[in-house]
Symmetry: C2
Subunit: 287 residues, 2 copies
Amino acid sequence: MENWDNFRIFLSVTRSGSIRGAAKMLGITHATVSRRIKFLEDTLGSSLFERKREGQCLTPLGQRILPLAKTIEGGCAEVDRLAFSADTGLAGTVKLSLSESLYSGLLHAPIDDFMQRYPMIKLDIIASDLMSNLAQREADVVIRITRNPPDTAYGRKVANSPLALYTSHKYLANRPAPDRWIAMDYAPARKPVIPAQVVANANSPTLAAQLIRSGRGMGLLPCYLGDTDPELERVSEVGLISDMQVWVLTHEDIKVNPRVRVLMDHLYQVFEKYRPTLEGLKMTASV
Amino acid sequence: MENWDNFRIFLSVTRSGSIRGAAKMLGITHATVSRRIKFLEDTLGSSLFERKREGQCLTPLGQRILPLAKTIEGGCAEVDRLAFSADTGLAGTVKLSLSESLYSGLLHAPIDDFMQRYPMIKLDIIASDLMSNLAQREADVVIRITRNPPDTAYGRKVANSPLALYTSHKYLANRPAPDRWIAMDYAPARKPVIPAQVVANANSPTLAAQLIRSGRGMGLLPCYLGDTDPELERVSEVGLISDMQVWVLTHEDIKVNPRVRVLMDHLYQVFEKYRPTLEGLKMTASV
DNA sequence: ACGTTTTGGATGAAATATGTACCATGGAGA
DNA sequence: TCTCCATGGTACATATTTCATCCAAAACGT
């Protein structure tokens, strides 16, 4: 084999479905991607993609190669993790992934605190609702709000994250009948839990919170968002609705890295302290 | 991971034990190998080798990475084989590996014949006593003379290759007592089978044949070598000694390739015809 | 102890890979 | 039908990598 690195490009093309898309993912130009794929095809002696209207389509050979390329990728990723775990210094970088809403709603201050406590650790904060891929080391530590606790990763459940019904003071001052309902469809679609007319659908909790804040209606929000927002008010007509769990996770391979260790320990302590807030037991924000 | 191709260089260094050795294996300069290894070490954040007197020595991290690099290599090799098997054209290249002695002693003519019959197939002939690595596609088809028939590869045993006792006309004309013995130590060490004094040790059958040919003594040779050499004469004092088997082999993945097919079929026929010679049943050479 | 050989590192020159244009094509939407 | 946008291919200028060397250090054989 001529150049193993071309499998990286190959995988990007299969995932993005286009040369240009792969180039964007990889941070290089489409000309390079095109040449590299052509080079790979030349050394293999057969083409791997067919240029179709709906994008780059794998040939039969390409399909047979795909799982092998993923194996190769997996090997490279594991090397990455091993090297990271072998890096025993406290100085360096850790990548933390968490949802934007959790960061702005609750964890902004504790994370600031961590950065002050460990100034030699550079914290890369990745605000992403999509779960970052721990295996590929897109993130070293993730705070995941989920219903399905993962069994492959290493870490623990740090809290429940129930929903409650919220609205704004403005809305309550002039409450219409029937109620206006702000739905969240990013989670499994939720219907109003009280008689109400759906007026909006938000695909993220922060967006839903903003809609509710502006007085457009009421809706279910995670308690950590609703309770920490001074403009929102919990509506007592419905109680807490058990929904998600909060997990702090890392990859088995890198759990021994000291930076991962201190970050996770810090997060465990943080969630110990904030668990009442997350679980909706403490109505006042403790920012 | 920055550049997956560096694992290829990494593996070469582990195998050759030195930067320069790896460079020679890879056909590039040692400066490049040095820079690539340094680059890999930089991206991983830890060193992989230690410069020791006995060469490049793997660090603990390097040792942990080694099996992963081999996994990656295995994936690349399998891609290679898949692509080769998907290459359904009769025109192209096939790599055939066989021992130098078998080629010059017996198979020179039949292989010429094959090249004439299939002029569109380019035959890469690799004369090597070391078994070429089928998995890595160092060879597509190998003729292996062995005692341990492999079970992973695809192919069949085409003949036995017994030993017999040979000497030269010259030697017989003035036969000393006790006899002079030319030993072959490339195989499991062989002692004289008749009372004789060991005068030489050859580490290859062709070398042993040359020594015997020059009248320095007598010794055991594969029949395909002894019987086809007009200057040698079989000594009837001992009969045939069962020794090796001849196998024609390819990799499971590429057995469907048409060029591999026709080459193997051709070789099967060739050995069908030459089996008496190989097995020492036909005293006159049939070159 | 000496020269010889092999090792790995450093540095201008050459070769290769990449980026930046530009182009033609083909849908999607007006 | 038209434009508009995105796609992939190609040519040339630019960056980067690799090569050919020279160098110092260490190991080996004499």
